[in-house]
Amino acid sequence: MDGTGLESSDAPLSPETSYDNPFPKVEDESKEPPSVPPHLLQRSLLNAQQDEWDSYVSKPPHVLLNHLYIENGEIAKSVLALGLTHRYRAKYVTVVLYKPIPR
């Protein structure tokens, strides 16, 4: 292979004709967004009732990793809970941040 190898491996540009999609109309926005995949709802990040021993043992399902969960209105309407589970080396950490919602 010669020095132009990198250029020839770039993806080709999209054909001009594919740029003619119509603008989304208002009716499109009234459709419901796709529903949340059920495997993401397996666990509640806010579930504090788990025994401390349990949490030492049960790995979170890997599909949940790096997804941001939002839960509001639990404590009060003005507090939002954001949760994320991520992996650090061979261990998993779930961080739940409680934020006030500015009025």
């Binding site: 990040l45 504090a48 788990q50 401390e52 021993w53 949490s55 030492y56 043992v57 049960s58 790995k59 979170p60 639990e74 404590i75 009060a76 003005s78 507090v79 991520h86 650090y88 080396r89 061979a90 261990k91 998993y92 950490v93 779930t94 961080v95 739940v96 941040l97 409680y98 934020k99 006030p100």
Partner: protein
Amino acid sequence: MDVEDRDMLIERVPVTGLYQICESSVDGIQNMSVADLDASRYHIDKFLSNHTVYEILPESGRVVVLDFAMPIKRAFHVLHEQGIPLAPLWDSDRQQFVGMLTPSDFISIIMEIGSQRALISEEELETHTIAAWKAEKYRLLDSAQRRVPFQYVGPDDTLKDAVKKLLHYHVTTVPVLYFAEGEGERPHILHLATLSSILSCLCRYFQHSLDLLPLLKHPVGSLPLGTWQNPSNGRLVVLGASMPFSTALRVLDQARVSSIPIVDENGSLIDVYAKSDITALAKDSIYAHVQLDQLSVEQALQLVHNGGLSGAAPVLRCQMCLRTDTLQHIMERLAMPGVRRVVCVEAGSKRVEGIITLSDVFKFLLF
């Protein structure tokens, strides 16, 4: 201490048979070979120096973080609902962790509410943010030069570094933070490290090689650790159950102890009220509605038991032991999550003789 004696029921236990207890030096030890002490300390030091904080992270852990701009009242409720006594504080503007909200903060706030009841309205309580509270607190501490910068450890720090930090700054918990490459100064939180988790790691490590630690076979009454009744120096504080709760708060705040054994009229131990139990007052906003000097210690304890959401099961709250129990026995108790202290009682009567806390044990085990 600043609290007057007549406000407290201080137990004076006869000390026949109890050895002189010194804080940290080897001089006060009798009937114990110095070789045992040195050998055990050597192995423990080796363990702590060769293992990192990463090893005490649970395989799947959970950390609750509070935003610095959250109103204190909400924060109180969140901690109560989650069953945790404290949380690290995150400043979104600066994208940094800036401190911890601890039971000591709540105790100070509740005492302030008590004394300035007329001056703080309900709405002010709703909007008073953690940031505002801490700013006020730091102003006071700065003037007394008692302010301590925010402390944390990294996952690759040794356990020995973590223990030294925890002991030096008199804190129970230190956040474990790591800074990802390429993200500059923005930290990620991994865990809240405590002496308890380090101790349980240590106990697991040595569980099959206890011969390396001959010190652990000694009865705890013969070792210079913990706080004991001593006629010349009544440092051990206990409170009667019928005492007003405001006295308990004052003692926790001024005596700089983290818990008080609660005794009945005979001096027998019935429970322990710890600083971390303060979050039980968040239930139904009791702290806002009840005059604290009309609440008795017994009633405050009842709130904790009714709370049900607190982390430790009832049996873990009040760990008791005898003076003749071995150090190993005490350490295994303290290694249980949720247990931070063991109260030493007289067999039968359950009269309080002493208290041994996690920090006492670590101070004793380190060189």
